[in-house]
């Protein structure tokens, strides 16, 4: 790739922030896979917001009609499009309401974990020396501590609520991210273009934000999107242990956990929430992948 290929364009020394953002969104919409991901995310967000109006039934109502004569849950079809659960509640309605919980957990908890993990990793990786030693030993400590136990302890100390659960999950999940980012930052910091920044006299904030972060973005995106499904499931585990979202409030995770023992007789109870978790993770993953490619100028023009 030596010869210049693009036709000469106007020469903006810096791209205006808003123009660049619009450009990125435009690129995203042009890629079919990213578009699909975005559509799924938008749908899920809409479902979460509009839940009270679009739920076909009351998600908490243990309807008598929701069970068959033997007391078993109803399979999908008819009155209940996705079937009913063990207590005769409408699965579709519970999933729609559960979108709220799961989105908040997946996005907020995971978001906090990403920001915390990346922040700690970059700081330690760039600063080195004592700062790195202290931060990374703390990370190791967190890693060695059984995640579930920590989550239970934290959840027991604070009153269980959605936000607390999200925070607890973030506390558990930031560790891996910080490890990965730390290692990568260290090798990046040795690279010549970072040396150049020191030679120019750039301050640490400029080096971290303008030069290191863009190069770390692909790892952050990959780990961040992978984290979504694990956080949603971790929430389910916590709910199962009674320290997560309190029943009867539904979340995708706790719907799976409540019903997993009936997998052979009522597979839809596990299948549909599982499908939603996969869709959520996939959607973020597709958008993340596309973002990574768009933000890397060396990959321009390749899909």
């Amino acid at each position: 790739m030596s010869a210049p290929i693009d036709p000469p364009s106007a020469a903006p020394v810096r791209r205006a922030g808003r123009g660049r953002a619009r450009e990125v969104v435009g690129e995203l919409l042009r890629r079919p896979r990213a578009l699909f991901g975005l559509a799924v995310i938008v749908l899920l967000v809409l479902a979460a917001i509009l839940a009270p109006w679009i739920m076909p039934h009351d998600p908490f109502e243990q309807s008598f009609d929701g069970l068959d004569l033997m007391g078993a849950p109803l399979p999908p079809g008819g009155e209940h499009p996705l079937g009913t659960d063990l207590l005769g509640r409408d699965l579709a309605s519970r999933l729609i309401l559960g979108t709220r919980t799961s989105l908040i957990i997946g996005v907020v908890a995971n978001g906090i974990a990403v920001i915390l993990g990346a922040g700690v990793g970059i700081t330690a990786g760039y600063a080195g020396g004592w700062t790195a030693a202290i931060l990374m030993r703390f990370t190791d400590l967190m890693m060695a501590f059984p995640a579930l136990l920590l989550a239970i302890v934290l959840a027991a100390i604070f009153q269980p609520s959605l936000m607390i659960v999200a925070l607890v999950i973030a506390m558990v999940n930031w560790v891996q991210m910080s490890r990965v980012i730390y290692t990568e930052t260290r090798s990046l910091a040795e690279r010549e273009f970072i040396q150049v920044q020191r030679a120019i006299g750039s301050g640490p904030l400029r080096i971290l934000g303008r030069h290191l972060l863009p190069h770390l973005l692909s790892s952050i995106i990959v780990f961040g999107t992978l984290g979504i499904s694990t956080t949603v499931l971790l929430e389910a585990t916590l709910s199962y242990l009674g320290v997560g979202v309190q029943p009867p409030v539904p979340s995708w995770g706790n719907i799976i956990f409540e019903n997993q023992t009936y997998f052979s007789t009522a597979p839809w109870l596990v299948f549909f929430p599982g499908l939603l978790i996969v869709l959520l993770a996939l959607a973020f993953n597709l958008v993340g992948d596309a973002l990574r490619d768009i933000l890397d100028p060396t990959l321009k023009g390749r899909h």
Binding site: A11, V13, V196, A199, L295
Partner: protein, 600 residues
């Protein structure tokens, strides 16, 4: 594998016949031909050089012959490669296993990355021998030892048990050659075998290849961009350009009378030691009118601690720079020359405060000792640096315009429209079109990227630029143009350069004064003509003698054996320091280390 009987010198049948070789690489825009209809013969005992600049397809040729073209992107689209009676194009991976190493061996540019770091030298040698059934298991260690003797490695018994990281670059390349020759191949392909090595080591390795070729009658295909190496080694030369054969000729004919325009321009661009016009020596009198010192360095030392042991205490120190003093006057170019590890780059970094150092550095009269990074900032307006690898020193995620603007933003010199104007102006100064400001680094060629780096350094209007091997990574023709640019800027702005390089021929072109360094200390310094034309220190003489001369009629004899010197290292245990050399004056600022009398 049985060897072939036919290794008779000058035999009628060539060892390798390449006919109409065409290699294509798949790109987004369809198949791109990177090698177009190349044909040549290689006779036993002959050395054929494939010369050309980057992207000329010379390495592709080697990979095609070795069956190592990166799959599935690259493929042989047409033509034939015949080794003795065997057709190689279209031969599968299985078929090639009996060819590689056994009949065609290859040595690569970077010996560190081509050796397995987790295996001892002995195991790597034995592996090759056993893989091709060259000997029985019990004999292998003995054969390995003999091979190391053949490549004239010092203390071969000890080397066998060592790992690659314990060897110097030159030793590693010798081991690579031993591995390549283990099965007595008919053909040795050497892909830039000495590019990563110091000149003195390069000379030794070239000697070795020549001697081995004489003894074994191996045909050598030498791939290089360095016309000096071509002149030194080749019998015949093929000049490649963009995948096509530009000219093929015996080496004497090519150098004496190149037929094509391109070959001539390539030869003209080669810096030749001893051809630069003599320069009026800058008087070393401190009271000369414009003799203001822009840089004054006194007793500079840089040491790096090596931590180890149970408690991570300092167990040894690298004395990278030890008591070095020099000055650079306004508008002057001081060249720092020496082999890798001599501390020349460290000095450049110390000037910008990028490494911790002791002593005294004054930039334009301002002492920078003990300054924090924030306090260094104003000093950095006066001293800037251009690094070796322009690809690595630009941020691939930012447009070059942003990067050129960055120093001016950091130092608050310009903003908004004024900043854009300045960037455009800088781009024009370094010979780039301002249209290119919004492009990303990967859209530029190597030479253009280095121009961008120079533009970035100029943004702060520095008084000194540290050019750390700034042209070493560039093709000769590009190198010449970048050197011209640097000279032009010096003339216009009265810039001073600290020009750090290992390349004597380049230094001769640019330097006013030369400082020769070895193991962190100055061996010899003085006006360019004094040091390069009348070297006094044996080390300087050795460096100069090792430079390959781009003239096949002036081939040097074998280098004096210097295996012992390679061993010296700047690492000392805590509490010990290297013996300081003292410089004594010869004449007009020409100073030589006193140790000279006793040094080998």
């Amino acid at each position: 594998m049985s060897g072939t009987g036919d290794t008779g010198r000058g035999g009628a049948r060539p060892a390798l016949e390449v006919r109409d070789l065409t290699v294509q690489v798949a790109t987004e825009a369809g198949a791109k031909t990177v090698l177009d209809g190349l044909s040549f013969d290689l006779s036993p005992g002959e050395t054929l050089a494939l010369a050309g600049e980057s992207g000329s397809g010379k390495s592709m040729t080697a990979l095609a012959i070795m069956g190592l073209l990166p799959k599935p992107m690259a493929r042989i689209a047409n033509g034939s490669i015949r080794l003795g009676g065997t057709e190689l194009s279209g031969l599968g991976e299985r078929g090639y296993r009996g060819i590689r190493s056994a009949r065609i061996a290859m040595i690569f540019q970077e010996p560190m990355t081509s050796l397995n770091p987790l295996m001892t030298v002995e195991r790597q040698l034995c592996e090759v021998l056993l893989e091709h059934g060259a000997c029985r298991r019990a004999e292998a260690p003995g054969r390995a030892l003999r091979l190391l003797r053949d490549v004239r490695l010092t203390e071969p018994e000890r080397r066998l048990k060592q790992y690659p990281h314990e060897l110097s670059g030159g030793m590693r390349q010798r081991v690579m050659i031993a591995i390549a020759l283990a099965c007595e191949p008919e053909i040795l392909i050497a892909d830039e075998p000495t590019t990563a090595l110091d000149v003195t080591v390069q000379a030794e390795i070239l000697d070795l290849i020549r001697a081995l070729q004489r003894d074994h009658g191996t045909a050598v295909l030498m791939i290089t961009h360095d016309m000096g190496v071509v002149a030194e080694m080749a019998d015949r030369v093929i000049v490649l350009r963009a995948g096509r054969q530009e000219e093929a000729a015996p080496v004497e004919t090519l150098f004496a009378a190149p037929r094509t325009e391109y070959a001539r321009s390539l030869l003209d661009a080669v810096p030749r030691l001893g051809t630069a016009p003599p320069r009026p020596t800058t008087p070393d009198a401190p009271d000369a009118p414009d003799a203001r010192n822009v840089v004054e360095v006194e007793d500079l030392s840089v040491r790096f601690d090596i931590a180890g042991g149970l408690l991570n205490r300092t167990v040894a120190r690298v004395h990278a720079v030890e008591g070095v003093s020099f000055h650079i006057r306004a508008g002057e170019t001081l060249a720092l020359v020496g082999e890798s590890g001599c501390g020349k780059s460290t000095i450049g970094k110390a000037l910008l405060g990028l490494v911790p150092w002791q002593g005294s550095i004054r930039i334009d009269g301002v002492e920078t000792q003990g300054r924090s990074r924030a306090a260094m900032r104003p000093v950095l307006r006066d001293v800037q640096m251009v690094f070796q690898d322009p690809g690595a020193s630009l941020d691939s995620r930012m447009t070059v315009g942003e990067q050129v603007a960055e120093p001016m933003k950091v130092h608050g010199i310009a903003r908004g429209a004024e900043l854009t104007d300045r960037c455009e102006w800088l781009f024009r100064r370094v010979g780039l079109s301002p249209d290119m400001l919004s492009r990303y680094p990967h859209e530029f060629s190597g030479g253009q990227r280095q121009r961008v780096c120079i533009a970035r350094a100029l943004g702060l209007s520095p008084k000194v630029i540290v050019a750390d091997e700034s042209v070493s990574a560039l093709d000769v023709s590009v190198q010449a143009r970048v050197l011209d640019l640097l000279a032009e800027l010096q003339e216009q702005d009265g810039l001073s350069y600290l020009f750090i390089s290992h390349d004597m021929a380049v230094i001769e072109q640019v330097a006013d004064r030369v400082t020769v360094m070895r193991l962190g200390q100055v061996m010899e310094e003085g006006p360019r003509d004094a040091v390069l034309r009348d070297p006094r220190h044996p080390y300087t003489k050795r460096l100069l003698a090792a430079v390959p001369v781009p003239d096949p009629t002036l081939r040097r004899g074998p280098m004096p054996d210097t295996a012992g010197i390679e061993e010296a290292s700047p690492i000392f245990p805590v509490g010990r320091a290297p013996e300081r050399v003292t410089l004594h004056d010869l004449a007009r600022g020409h100073r030589v280390a006193r140790q000279a009398a006793t040094a080998p």
